[in-house]
Symmetry: C2
Subunit: 290 residues, 2 copies
């Protein structure tokens, strides 16, 4: 079998339309004829089709909250919990490997971003994060947040969605997209204060990273900011972490118990007496990843 | 004294022009009347003026290689080594804190991006990295690479400048800017292979980060890709690292000796027998940060 192609397919520009799934498959834009998610757990996912089949999906153009597969009966009703297997695991793999996912939208009268008929290739997205929750049906569903790579969101909004912070003042201009460095996280004033409180030591492992320009640490949100979590940028939702423990928090490698002991890895969170941490937010984080 | 303002100044849109430094200072866009770098080592730098005063500067619009301050005589000739102090340290602080820097260009007949007369505010940049080298004068100079936040570079080029990798095929389209997640690094095929070779274990600390979608590691370039270093995307220039040791490599917290022992932190680099590492590239990295 040929290698799975990630990214653009030569000769199929953004906006290309297809009458049927079969045509889309023949063009190489989305190979499976039935499944919404193309991919494998080892390769990652290379493309998805959004066609309004899931009641929990949300599509605002540049940001898509996509429900995983599984647990539906042959009438498309959610009748069982989903699991992190097959296509869902493939999408999670694309997330941790940073692989681009082609998004194909199918006709859906309820979605203003969908074509009127057939299918349309709408460009590349990155899987920003995944979590699970109880869907409208009452069953557990996996959800994936995808963000368009060539986004038209204004810089401030995009920074927020990516859990970077917004620029201090007046920069929410209508220009296209922002470029963000691979890992330097722009800090809010509050983030700065939290890092100062802990002398830039990671609250999980106490590492101090000293560069020639001073100590480096990251201010991490416990309940993510941006859609659909909308966690606040407030001290009780912030931690001072090293890059490793920030990534691990975001990817659910560990969670924080009510007594601040850690679940998933050894140890417990170091807390300064002047730092209130919201139990509500650590519970929210736990429920997403437990 | 009032708080230093980072980011946009209200009422001063991009493209605003000023006849003199005094006018620019009065508008709050760049306060110092003489110094090219505004800022302090504790706050970071909030703005710089580029005016062709340094023979080693390079300006290609969205990417600026800016020479630090110091070591010039009163005729503007470089007569001594620069040090990482004052304005230079302020810029390095903006780099590690991810603070936006206002860029003001002064008239410079040799620079096509400069205004014909006076000064012009040209928007916000992030300091991507800094290093030192021997300048054209024969003295040591600090250099800072700045990347425009609202870049007009095509996604592929920007990804390369940011040391992310480019998308596999055909996506070097002329659209504006790309959005990159805060820390998920898009992987090249070669990066994937290096990570597989090491089973996603960090070559410095051997940590394994296991997410529910599989192990997470980063493929790091020893000699940076992108301007002006132009390191290759080849296995002999790649390491498999955890986020902490990737950041620390990029920021010069440690270097690698010819025998693969580490300089700056304890330990030595773990190397697989099938992995050739270029001595030339680790020497380049050392010279930048020693």
């Amino acid at each position: 079998m040929a290698d799975r192609i990630f990214g653009e397919i030569e000769g199929v520009p953004i906006g290309s339309t297809f009458n049927t799934r079969k045509e889309a498959a023949a063009a190489g834009i989305h190979k499976p004829l039935q499944a919404g998610i193309s991919g494998s757990k080892d390769d990652g996912s290379d493309s998805i089709v959004i066609s309004g089949g899931y009641e929990d999906d949300s599509d605002t153009g540049d940001i898509i909250i996509y429900t995983g597969e599984g647990g539906q009966n042959d009438k498309g009703r959610q009748v069982a919990d989903q699991q992190l297997v097959r296509g869902n695991l493939a999408l999670a793999k694309s997330e941790i490997d940073g692989l681009p996912v082609r998004v194909i939208r199918g006709a859906d009268i309820k979605n203003p971003y969908a074509p009127e008929t057939g299918y349309r290739y709408d460009g590349l997205y990155l899987v920003d994060s995944h979590w699970h929750e109880i869907g409208k049906s009452g069953f557990l569903v996996y959800r994936f947040k995808l963000i368009k790579i060539d986004s038209t969101l204004p810089p401030n909004k995009l920074a927020k969605e990516l859990d970077l912070i917004s620029l201090p003042t007046g920069s929410d201009n209508p220009k296209r997209a922002t470029a963000t460095s691979q890992r330097i996280i722009r800090d809010s004033k509050l983030g700065k204060e939290i890092k100062k409180l802990y002398h830039h030591k990671c609250q999980v492992c106490s590492i101090e990273i000293n560069t020639n320009a001073g100590p480096y640490a990251e201010a991490a949100h416990i309940k993510p900011v941006g859609k659909p979590h909308n966690g606040p940028d407030r001290p009780d939702n912030l931690l001072c972490l090293c890059p490793n423990h920030h990534l691990m928090l975001d990817k659910g490698v560990y969670m924080i118990a009510d007594d601040l002991s850690l679940v998933g890895i050894e140890g417990s969170l170091n807390k300064h007496v002047d730092h209130e941490i919201s139990i509500e937010h650590i519970r929210y984080h736990r429920e997403m990843f437990n």
